[in-house]
């Protein structure tokens, strides 16, 4: 039986004015809402607001030791703690001019693969797919299709097992440090994981085929995609910041091009690119800008399901996320095969005063950190720009256009569609607050 939906919806009918709102968005991480005001055929106001309470990380990082940054910033988000740890350690290593040997660089990539698999699988099956299939959640979906949900959970678990083995635990891993890791995981445990990854590889291919058969609204936009890019590999931890509209800068130049503004309806700061406005980060941006660096299997299956490198439909992000999942699985297998447990877990750090930046690809898109530390390694300044606040303006733009395209729908259907449009971005509100309430006002 379909239970009443969780969203408190208030739809006001006035003369020609209509308000659609969702006061507590669901199947997103954190607390947000939507508010849309429509007058006749015109959308007057769109707010995707974040009422997640502010937690002031950037303020209380000041006065802490440089080595505490990965453990403290992990607590910004329980879904993507690895991303926070990676961006913070790379920023610190940038200050201290620390060079990491290739085996540690690879081990960090492997840890990130685990987080992508866990986070992407959670979003594909538990947060996004129920919208396409008309279910309230994955548990309801499991009643009709138990085998799908069982496989999904098993796939998600494998991502978590990678994070567990390398990081010590799934949520807020403890094995990451500036300069490398505390301890090298055992090769034996790694090889056990590889056996499971072979199964996961097959299931991830099944997933791509399954989700590519979903019905997608005709909604292509001229987006400004931004992602990291490297010459020869799909990005995780480093690279240049590039876009489909000519941006090509080093991470050090981020703050010359990217700015944040504080708007009244949100506890998150909105990001924009100077003279260019809103932009789009995350799987779709990465895929479009780095297609050539995907594995052969990923490229072949993308072609088979009919998705190409110029995908501009955010609803199809579920396919792209599934392709990235396959990539992360194959990449994990490659790294595990080359792994040598006898190598050193970390390198020495030479503390110096200075400023450093780190930008890595969280499952939801680029995550930028900048720190200034003194000669003792004490943090004097901190700046953190999470992916969801970078997407916030683009999400509002999507809502504005999508509501007009679907204005014929009844309020309940329209509201659900609009929620789905938000979930395309896998928003992480806990991250963005330093982010989401959905209201629609139709006039």
């Amino acid at each position: 039986m379909r239970m009443p939906i969780v969203l408190e919806k208030k739809v006001k009918h006035m003369k020609k004015t209509k308000i659609l709102k969702v006061e507590y968005l669901t199947r997103v991480e954190g607390e947000g809402a939507m508010f849309i005001k429509i007058e006749g055929e015109k959308v007057k106001e769109v707010k995707f607001n974040i009422f997640e309470p502010p937690r002031f990380f950037e303020a209380f990082l000041r006065g802490r030791n440089y080595y505490e940054a990965p453990d403290i910033t992990a607590r910004i988000c329980g879904i993507c703690p690895v991303a926070y740890q990676m961006s913070s350690i790379h920023a610190m290593e940038n200050i201290f001019n620390t060079k990491l040997p290739n085996h540690l660089r690879e081990l960090r990539r492997l840890l990130y693969c685990g987080e992508w698999i866990e986070s992407h699988t959670l979003h594909i099956y538990m947060l996004h797919a129920p919208d396409f299939l008309g279910y309230d959640d994955a548990i309801e979906l499991a009643k009709d299709h138990p085998q799908i949900v069982e496989k999904a959970l098993k796939l998600k678990k494998i991502g978590n097992e990678i994070v567990n083995l390398i990081g010590g635990r799934e949520i807020h891993p403890i094995n990451v440090k500036v300069g490398g890791f505390y301890k090298m995981p055992s090769k034996k445990n790694m090889l056990e994981l590889n056996e499971k990854l072979k199964w996961a590889r097959d299931i991830s291919i099944e997933t791509i085929k399954l989700v590519s058969k979903f019905e997608f609204p005709d909604f292509e936009q001229d987006y400004h995609f931004v992602a990291l890019r490297n010459e020869n590999e799909y990005p995780f931890n480093e690279g240049r910041l590039v876009s489909n509209k000519g941006l090509d800068i080093s991470i050090k130049e981020y703050e010359k091009y990217f700015f944040e503004e504080h708007v009244e309806h949100s506890n998150a700061l909105h990001s924009f690119i100077k003279d260019k406005g809103n932009y789009f980060v995350g799987p779709l941006a990465r895929f479009n800008l780095n297609f050539d660096n995907l594995t052969k299997t990923c490229k072949e299956i993308a072609k088979e399901v009919g998705i190409n490198r110029n995908c501009k439909n955010p609803f199809q992000s579920i396919i792209v996320r599934s392709i990235e999942n396959l990539f992360a699985i194959e990449e994990a297998m490659r790294i595990i095969n080359n792994y040598d447990e006898k190598l050193e877990p970390n390198v020495n750090i030479k503390i110096t005063a200075g400023v450093g930046m780190g930008c890595t690809e969280a499952p939801r898109g680029i995550l930028y950190h900048r720190y200034k530390v003194d000669e003792k390694g004490i943090i004097i300044e901190a700046k953190i720009v999470p992916p969801t606040s970078q997407n916030q303006k683009t999400i509002e733009e999507d809502l504005r256009k999508f509501v007009i395209q679907n204005i014929h729908l009844n309020d309940e259907k329209l509201t659900w569609k609009l929620e789905q449009a938000i979930r395309n971005y896998d928003p992480c509100i806990s991250c963005a607050t330093h982010f989401l309430k959905l209201k629609i006002e139709k006039l």
Binding site: L7, E31, E52, P53, F56, D71, C77, I79, M126
Partner: protein, 258 residues
């Protein structure tokens, strides 16, 4: 048909990690949904079943006036209220603002501080309403969460030991990181729950599970200082995810004054 007990999940100021632990029970989630009705869990479902609820799992700390009121509403409609994680049991990492001037913090992070509404302190749920059980950890241990839900549904006390991380290290046969490598470790005063994770990875405990029952924090501080830690670092050591838990707070304040 027997009516399934209703479980609700509520979020306050937090990182969502503790409630995610429920979705991370990949092997147990579907079995769990057979015996309980997950009646309110916005992170996972659009479905919402009205209260009252048999169990409310509360994540996060109280940091806004609105949330200080909301927690009373949650208490009213819950038979058992269980807090999960360091934010809900001790105020969390965001309680670091409790030691500072919040206006200055708001100005530092936000360009227009007037848009931000926040209380001076981040506080534990038990500071506001009666709590039936506090499950520690940053994050919680998902197996302990299943144990607590199981215990409450069966009317027994949860089996979640309150001894120190030290005891777990001994049980595991870990070599002590303090004795062997002079690595600072909060293990002697920290509540069990992680299975002595950090010392098993060659690092010192940093207190994710908060103070154990009757912790001798001053004795530990003496030893930390004896082994070469500065007072400033002793203050920082006690001030992380459980900074506002009574004994950790007092210990850090003692070293700040001197």
């Amino acid at each position: 048909m027997i009516k399934k007990p209703k479980v609700a999940v509520w979020k306050f100021a937090s990182c969502d990690g503790c409630q995610l632990s429920l979705l991370d029970c990949e092997d147990e989630l579907l079995a769990l949904s057979e015996v309980i009705e997950i009646a309110n869990f916005p992170e996972a479902s659009r479905r919402f079943t009205k209260g009252p609820y048999d169990i409310s799992l509360v994540e996060g700390s109280v940091t806004t006036a609105h949330d200080a009121e909301r927690i009373h509403k949650v208490r009213k409609i819950s038979k058992f209220l269980i807090t999960i994680g360091a934010c809900a049991t001790a105020g969390g990492i965001q309680a670091l603002k409790n030691f500072k001037n919040v206006n200055e913090f708001t100005k530092y992070v936000y360009a227009n501080p007037a848009y931000i509404s926040t209380l001076n302190k981040s506080t534990a749920i038990a500071d506001h309403v009666k709590v039936d059980f506090e499950l520690r950890g940053c994050p919680i241990n998902k197996y302990q969460l299943l144990e607590v839900i199981n215990a409450f549904l069966n009317g027994r006390k949860p089996n979640t030991p309150s001894h120190s991380v030290c005891i777990d290290c001994k049980t595991k046969g870990n070599i002590c990181v303090v004795i062997s490598e002079n690595i600072p470790c909060l293990g002697p005063v920290t509540h069990s729950g992680c299975d002595a994770l950090c010392p098993s990875y060659n690092r010192g405990c940093f207190g994710c599970f908060g103070p154990k029952e009757t912790p001798n924090t001053s004795s530990l501080s003496k030893d930390l200082i004896y082994r070469g830690m500065s007072k400033e670092n002793v203050v920082r050591f006690f001030r992380t995810f459980n900074a506002y838990a009574d004994s950790f707070r007092k210990e850090s304040e003692a070293h700040e004054k001197n």
